[in-house]
């Protein structure tokens, strides 16, 4: 194939927010469809699933495919993009009957708490009924098409990315409304006779034909931008315009007329309506077999061991390179892997899955081996059974990270990892349980605090089964003294899976939960040490990111004194903690987690590829070029803001619940949260230091 054609066809847009939105919608739909298909196989058949997936694909094709890349060069390409948004994606999405599958796909508490009040509000129902009246729908669809094809407005879309997005959104939503009465999305209310849909579609086709004919037969270029656009492959602007008109006319009309023909056939054949009640089949209860549970246990354990061994090997390589390799951070595995990759992947995994860092922790592997031969006799001192030691270690780490530029010293990094191994092994060889994990490890505490908003949790399948349990094997197996029936949330849980394997009834599993449930936070409100730790981690997120901005970097100029002044702000928690209830402090965790993710995500994006030169040097492979480093894709800054948005909204919700829905106690904490959010926006808008990178 021609090189230029290949390049053109590979001009896809990599847009993670778009991909994530479509992927999430698809997953929710499939989850809901699977449930509904079991209950109503006829109403929610494979055809509906296929339609919805095709609709999503059409949407993706319109927005992210090479069509989008060449829409401003060729009107005909732009027209195909519009056709997908107007005539292909909306009917396919509606044919998938998406409402019930999407609602059933969402977690039940989300539907009950967040959506149900809106879905059952009579005003909103009346508004929805008015909005889906055929006359309104027809006007919405055709007006959007006519309006945006007028030269003035089409040019506006070509000249401004914002208006271009508005144009596409108008096409999509106008067309979704247009196709609503045609498809009769279940469970919508029928306003008029089906026969009325035939003039409805034909009149829309007439409007479409007039617009198309104008483009086909016009003797001059209608949209001036295309007259000035570079002519690719010598296609003249006028020919391109005629082609665009023909595309709008023929395939556009085919869709309208085909729909009219199908409706005519259905109306003439007079099919009786399907009564949902007759289609509901009893769903057999799923009972795992004995073989399945044994396999589940074996898989969980072997997966964990494999993850730990992999991490142990990586840690060994990092230490070797850190001690013996060149002390140039971007060229050393110790300067790249822990600070750029591991931290970012850890926080992303925590927020999208669960505590996978502790699950794959290599530091506990030597401990587990030694424990086979050496019995532990000592118990961790009761006075130290709290989070004050890790809180102090967190302060020391955050300060020394900036004061001594730990990220820039492979040797120090290797020492920190080695110290970790030695300390973890020593403590857990002497003391029973997982004393190091629970009472010492700062990384573990970071994970525990932020896992309060994780969507996965080790929990019981059925509380009733636990009610009859006499042996409490999960409690005996857990090295952190967690008792599954009483446990809520993932705080102090290392995802070690010992409880999963210990439960004789296989009643413990990893399950999806609603993140940031107020009940999980409420269980920790009487713990000053936990509140202090949480506040340190939240403030640490903002201070650590601030230290990376150029203005602060210039001011501190690697001066430990000035860095100490900034990190002295970490003492603020002491003042706050002794004057306020801890429940308000804990509610700040989502905001802190969002800031950490934005910060670490930035490093991963700007310096992620620095692993290549570091690994190549370590392996002795010569590299001819290092490119693509230091560039941040344009989708990242909006995503950073979205992360902060989500963090702030969750924090405000938790503060509101902590204040028992009373404004007076809520207000100062809401103000603090908004202040931190504003600080976060300022930090993210600053030029950042590109750490851990090779600049060619």
């Amino acid at each position: 194939m021609n090189q230029a054609v290949t390049a053109a066809l590979s001009s896809w847009r990599f847009d993670p927010p778009l991909i994530a939105t479509l992927l999430l919608t698809t997953l929710l739909y499939i989850r809901g469809w699977l449930r509904l298909h079991r209950e109503m196989p006829t109403r929610f058949g494979p055809w509906h699933l296929a339609s919805f997936l095709l609709g999503e694909s059409a949407l993706f094709l319109a927005i992210a495919s090479p069509l989008d890349s060449f829409a401003s060069f060729l009107l005909s390409v732009h027209m195909v993009q519009h056709l997908l948004l107007i005539a292909v994606a909306p009917p396919l999405l509606w044919l998938g009957q998406p409402f019930l599958p999407l609602l059933r796909g969402l977690p039940r508490p989300v539907v009950k708490e967040a959506l149900s009040p809106f879905l059952s509000a009579p005003e909103l129902r009346r508004f929805a009924n008015a909005l889906t009246h055929p006359l309104v729908c027809w006007l919405a669809g055709t007006a959007a098409t006519v309006f945006w094809h007028l030269p003035t407005f089409y040019e506006l879309g070509l000249q401004s990315p914002t208006w271009h997005r508005v144009e596409h959104a108008s096409f999509l939503f106008g067309s979704l409304l247009f196709w609503w009465p045609v498809i009769q999305v279940w469970p919508s209310k029928r306003h008029t006779s089906r026969w009325l849909m035939i003039p409805y579609l034909i009149s829309a086709d007439v409007v479409n034909s007039i617009l198309s004919a104008y483009l086909v037969f016009s003797a001059q270029v209608v949209y001036p931008s295309y007259a000035l656009a570079p002519r690719l492959w010598n296609i003249s602007a006028l020919n391109d315009q005629s082609m665009a008109g023909a595309l709008m006319w023929v395939p556009g009309s085919v869709v309208y007329l085909l729909a009219a023909a199908i409706i005519t056939y259905q109306a003439l054949s007079g099919k009786p309506g399907i009564r949902p009640s007759t289609l509901i089949k009893p769903v057999p209860q799923f009972r795992p077999s004995r073989t399945a549970t044994v396999m589940e246990r074996t898989t969980v354990l072997s997966t964990r061991r494999a993850a730990q061994i992999t991490m142990l090997l990586l840690a060994t390589l990092i230490m070797l390179d850190g001690f013996r390799g060149p002390q140039i951070s971007p060229l050393n595995l110790a300067g790249v892997l822990p600070w750029t990759h591991w931290r970012a992947i850890a926080i992303i995994a925590l927020l999208t899955a669960g505590n996978l860092v502790c699950f794959s922790c290599p530091f506990t592997l030597p401990r587990d081996i030694i424990r086979r031969f050496v019995p532990q006799r000592l118990r961790w001192p009761p006075s130290l059974r709290n989070k004050w030691i890790p809180a102090a270690l967190t302060i020391v780490f955050l300060w020394s990270y900036e004061a001594f530029s730990l990220w820039d010293s492979p040797w120090w990094t290797a020492w920190i990892i080695a110290s970790y191994f030695i300390t973890a092994t020593l403590i857990d060889t002497l003391f029973q349980g997982a004393s190091f994990c629970k009472y010492v490890c700062p990384i573990g505490q970071f994970q525990f605090v932020n896992s309060l908003i994780s969507p996965l949790e080790v929990t019981v399948k059925s509380p009733k089964v636990c009610d009859t349990c006499q042996t409490h094997d999960c409690l005996h197996a857990c090295k952190l003294d967690l008792f599954q029936p009483k446990k809520s949330g993932s705080f102090d849980c290392t995802f070690c899976m010992e409880c999963v394997t210990a439960c004789p009834t296989s009643n413990v599993t990893i399950a999806a939960v609603v993140p940031a449930r107020p009940t999980v936070f409420a269980r920790l409100t009487n713990r000053t040490d936990v509140a202090a730790l949480a506040l340190l981690i939240v403030l640490g997120a903002f201070l650590s990111a601030t230290a990376m901005t150029n203005p602060v970097r210039d001011w501190t100029s690697d001066s430990p004194l000035r860095i100490s002044l900034i990190f002295g702000l970490l003492l603020v928690p002491a003042l706050i903690l002794f004057t306020t209830p801890h429940k308000y402090v804990l509610a700040l965790v989502p905001l802190g987690a969002s800031m950490w993710t934005a910060h670490f995500g930035y490093h991963l994006l700007t310096a992620g590829s620095s692993l290549v030169p570091a690994a190549a040097r370590f392996l002795g492979v010569a590299l001819t070029q290092t490119s693509g480093m230091g560039t941040v894709p344009d989708w990242w800054p909006p995503l950073e803001i979205l992360l902060l948005d989500a963090g702030l909204l969750l924090t405000l919700y938790l503060e509101w619940r902590s204040a028992a829905r009373k404004f007076r106690p809520f207000a100062p904490w809401a103000f603090l949260a908004v202040l931190l959010y504003a600080a976060g926006l300022w930090i993210l808008a600053q030029p950042m230091q590109m750490r851990g990178m090779v600049m060619n």
Binding site: A4, S11, A114, Q159, T162, S225, P230, D634
Partner: protein, 157 residues
């Protein structure tokens, strides 16, 4: 026939390409060179389309660079969304008019075209505002939800 031969230095025609606004369209035999610019949150993204003057087919095997005020910035192919464009990101102040030169080297052919990069004053960044607006919208929805729920609860006499 080759209409682009008539075009030389058409400055600041606003057209959204992958690269953004057309800053320069010029024929530098045997190529037609088009330079686009777009403001991003990370700086100014400059994109260059190099076409064969005879066929107007995109040229993808040239070395392209931008010279502006003594700085030479290499423009690399395939970095942006549109894989036919060479692109480079530069940091420039807003509302600036700067002379620049595009150099295209391909085998024994070395040509250049020059023009003036024109940047209008920056408008407030609507994209960032759109995302920040999510917070008040979220709060509004939450308040509305609270109102709807409270309305359902039967009031005590």
């Amino acid at each position: 026939m080759l209409r682009t031969a008539l075009l030389s230095c058409v400055f600041a025609v606003t057209l959204l390409g992958d690269g953004g606004t057309v800053q320069l369209q010029a024929q530098a035999h045997p190529f037609v060179i088009t330079v686009f610019s777009a403001e991003t949150s990370l700086g100014t993204d400059l994109s260059i389309l190099v076409q064969d003057a005879a066929t107007l087919a995109p040229v993808l095997d040239a070395d392209v660079s931008l010279d502006s005020e003594g700085h030479q910035i290499p423009a690399l192919l395939g970095r942006g969304q549109n894989k036919l464009l060479y692109s480079a990101t530069v940091n420039l102040p807003s509302s600036a008019d700067r002379p620049f030169r595009v150099r295209v080297d391909r085998a024994a052919t070395h040509v250049s075209a020059q023009g003036i990069l024109h940047f209008p004053p920056k408008t407030p960044e609507t994209t960032r505002m759109t995302y920040i607006a999510i917070v008040p919208i979220g709060i509004l929805l939450f308040v509305l939800r609270g109102y709807l729920v409270s309305r359902k609860v039967p009031r005590r006499a």
